[in-house]
Amino acid sequence: MRVLQEMPRLAARAAHHFWSRLREWCGDAAYERYLRSNATHSGMPRILNAQEFYVEQTNRRYSQPNRCC
């Protein structure tokens, strides 16, 4: 009975977990992660805005082998 009562909460938690992992995998969470990173808290000259970060991130990612045969 108690398990049944807990089910919606557990399902919501699992869905939230899955969604946050999916956002991390596809890159949606990259900017939030950047804002939380140590570097932005430890005296970076300027924090990039979302647009600048996106362009900088794609430039960096595609300047080294990141897709294989």
Partner: protein, 696 residues
């Protein structure tokens, strides 16, 4: 009690795997069900992961979770990003899974299902996964250094330069061969060409959306993009049905080759956010979805494997490519069992994102097992069609003829029944004018996938939609490899060229960008053109060249890893990298020798060139074909020279490494291990960086 249960469970898994492998290996006569392949592969992977990778992690590498990884030491939210292990597994798998594990096994099915399946499973467990795992481990211990960087530090400066040049040369061959696969798949196919062409404006719209409207919102943009691409697949049938539209999207091989070359140049020069990145997002979603669908389809449909375990072509006389099982089955399978290119990913972004050393086992070893499983599924899809149909699709016109009647007569004479109407009916059912002579593996894999998908959903009615979905899926992520590879090749040329002429090394200098892009596109474009005009279909010469190049890069990675293990004083366990390395060197050197010097003109580049030259000298070539034949002679000699250069580079690197090993074994003091010093992790006990940092 718990231990005893565990023991019994693992014995059961091992026995199930051994029984399934036995069934695959010993079964003769009646068709075999694909379930055996799935059981054999999954059980072998489970045993390999549970025992062999654990042994590597504990005894050989001594992974240490108390040691801070580069992601912790240099966390910057950009390159060095601590990431949840399952998210990173997904990233790493999406990066390593390319067209290779799909195309290679499809081509290797020419030998029958047995040799390829055995090598896919054993090769991955004992070589491919070990390579990915060891390089990831070495790179983690060196602040995420690249393979070239590690070769320079641990082998020699010359070794580093050789590795860098080898990567560039391999990339040129890789890009040419994947472009050829796309060209052969889209030749005379207005439906396929339209669908793929539509992915470009879709990607451009996505690029603008992600740059200006909702920066970085990849998920929502990709889902919208995927829906638009699926709409384009459906709309393709109306294009193919309309005479004027069909004509506009119908191209021959040479025209398509030039279109792909122009596309590659544009992708290398245009801002990355505009075309390359959004295409890659689309490709990643569709690739993951299609692979999951294929796995689900095989499990639901459980198709019969109609290809025999061994075909008559194990003698080296195959129509898809020439050469015997040893070494050409290994060379052809390539990425599904071991891929040198993975070492670039394992020493690229992944080591900078890993949270703890212990997770390298799941990500390095585990992701490669999954890639091998993709290869097994491709083998099942290719072998589920009748052998006659398989050979009709994959054999060049120069061998089986260009009409259904000629192909049916020739293929039936080999002992694989085929009537001309079967090919005509099949082409009609998948919405194509013809399926004959589509060398390259993509169309036959698409037919196999479409048959599996249509047996799951839609039946015969949806066969054409599924076929073009499969073609779009293959072509889309092949083009993603092409544009991403061209861009990386451009940077490599700029970096190497910058040593000779400084301005070329500046990444933002426009003339430098254009020169370097033109050089890399010109290099792979030349090989692509050569493949398109080759009367034997191009795949016959280019895929083995690609396989040799790829496996040589794997040998480079294993040479570097062996050197590092020796320096770590793991002499007792050195066989874990030394044996696969020796195997790869034996395979690639034999294949290189045969491709250059074999007396059979279908196999040896030089004997083919000599045969053509003799035909010109004997007046057997019509006057109007002499220039074309002379070009073919030049191309054969060029292929021989490229193969020789690749083999030579690896032998040089091996020589450098042997001298280094000698010094290490003699205990010379100047041979030091270039590992980052130990720093204790803050994240091991009691500390959790939380969901934000991707911890569990």
């Amino acid at each position: 009690m718990k231990q005893a249960l565990k023991f019994v469970a693992w014995v059961a898994v091992a026995l199930a795997g051994a029984s399934a492998l036995g069934a695959i290996a010993l079964h003769r006569g009646e068709p075999l069900n694909a379930t055996w392949f799935v059981v054999a592969a999954v059980c072998c992977y489970l045993v390999a992961y549970r025992f062999y990778s654990a042994f590597l992690a504990a005894k050989v590498f001594a992974l240490d979770d108390t040691r801070a990884t580069p992601a912790e030491r240099h966390e910057d939210g950009r390159d060095f990003v601590p990431t949840n292990k399952w998210v990173l597994f997904g990233h790493h798998f999406a990066a390593i899974a390319g067209p290779g594990p799909l195309i290679g096994p499809t081509l290797a099915a020419q030998f029958g299902y047995l040799p390829g399946t055995l090598w896919l499973i054993a090769g991955a467990a004992l070589a491919g996964c070990v390579q990915d795992f060891v390089i990831l481990f070495c790179s983690i211990r060196r602040d995420g250094k690249t393979l070239g960087g590690m070769a320079r530090e641990e082998v020699s400066a010359r070794g580093g330069l050789i590795a860098q040049l080898a990567v560039l040369a391999i990339m040129v061959i890789l890009l040419a061969v994947v472009a050829l696969v796309v060209v052969n798949a889209l030749k005379s196919s207005p439906w396929g060409t339209f669908t793929l062409a539509m992915t470009i404006p879709i990607a451009l719209v996505l690029g603008v959306y992600l740059r200006f409207i909702r920066p970085g919102r990849v998920f929502e943009a990709s889902i919208a993009g995927v829906l638009l691409v699926l709409l384009a697949v459906v709309a393709g049938q109306w294009v193919a049905a309309s005479p004027s539209w069909a004509e506009a999207f119908t191209f021959g091989g040479v025209s398509l080759a030039f279109i792909v070359i122009a596309y590659g140049f544009a992708a290398a020069v245009l801002p990355v956010w505009l075309l390359l990145a959004p295409r890659d997002y689309l490709s990643a979603f569709i690739k993951t979805g299609a692979i999951l669908c294929l796995a689900g389809g095989i499990l639901l449909v459980r198709p019969q494997v109609l290809m025999p375990p061994l075909t008559k072509f194990i003698d080296g006389s195959g129509p898809v490519f020439a050469g015997k099982i040893f070494p050409f089955c290994f060379i052809t399978i390539a990425c599904g069992a071991i891929s040198g290119f993975h070492s670039l990913i394992s020493s690229g972004t992944t080591p900078k994102m890993i949270l703890r050393e212990g997770q390298a086992r799941l990500i390095g070893y585990g992701a490669m097992l999954l890639e091998s499983f993709v290869g097994v599924m491709a083998m099942v899809a290719a072998c589920a069609m009748s052998p006659g149909v398989y050979f009709a699709i994959n054999s060049p016109a120069g061998i089986v003829g260009a009409t259904p009647e000629a192909a049916a007569a020739k293929i039936s004479s080999w002992g694989y029944a085929l009537d001309a109407q079967t090919m005509t009916r099949l082409a009609h059912a998948v919405g194509e004018q013809t399926l004959l002579n589509r060398a390259g593996g993509a169309p036959s894999l698409a037919v196999g996938m479409a048959q599996i998908f249509s047996n799951t959903i839609g039946g015969e009615r949806l066969l054409s939609i599924w076929y073009h979905f499969a073609i779009m899926f293959e072509a889309l992520f092949i083009l993603t490899v092409l544009d991403a590879g061209t861009r990386v090749g451009r940077f490599m040329i700029q970096e190497l060229g910058g040593r000779i002429w400084k301005p070329l090394g500046r990444r933002s200098w426009l003339p430098g960008i254009i020169i370097a892009s033109a050089l890399i596109v010109g290099a792979w474009g030349y090989f692509l053109y050569q493949g398109v005009v080759d009367p034997l279909g191009g795949i016959n010469s280019l895929w083995p060249l690609f396989g040799i190049a790829n496996q040589l890069l794997a040998a480079v990675a294993l040479v570097v890893a062996t050197t590092i293990l020796l320096k770590m004083k793991r002499l007792r366990w050195i066989w874990v990298t030394l044996v696969p390395m020796a195997m790869l060197i034996a395979v690639t050197m034999t294949a290189s020798y045969q491709k250059i010097f074999d007396a059979n003109p279908n196999l040896g580049f030089l004997s083919k060139a000599n045969q053509l030259a003799a035909q010109i000298a004997a007046g057997q070539i019509p006057a109007e074909k002499i220039v074309e034949t002379q070009r073919l002679i030049f191309n054969q000699r060029l292929d021989a020279a490229v193969t020789a250069v690749l083999a030579g580079m690896i032998l040089l690197l091996l020589l450098e490494a042997l001298m280094q090993w000698y010094s290490i074994l003699r205990g010379q003091p100047e041979v030091a291990l270039c590992e980052t010093p130990y720093i204790a992790s803050r994240w091991t006990e009691g500390f959790s960086p939380g969901i934000a940092h991707g911890d569990d």
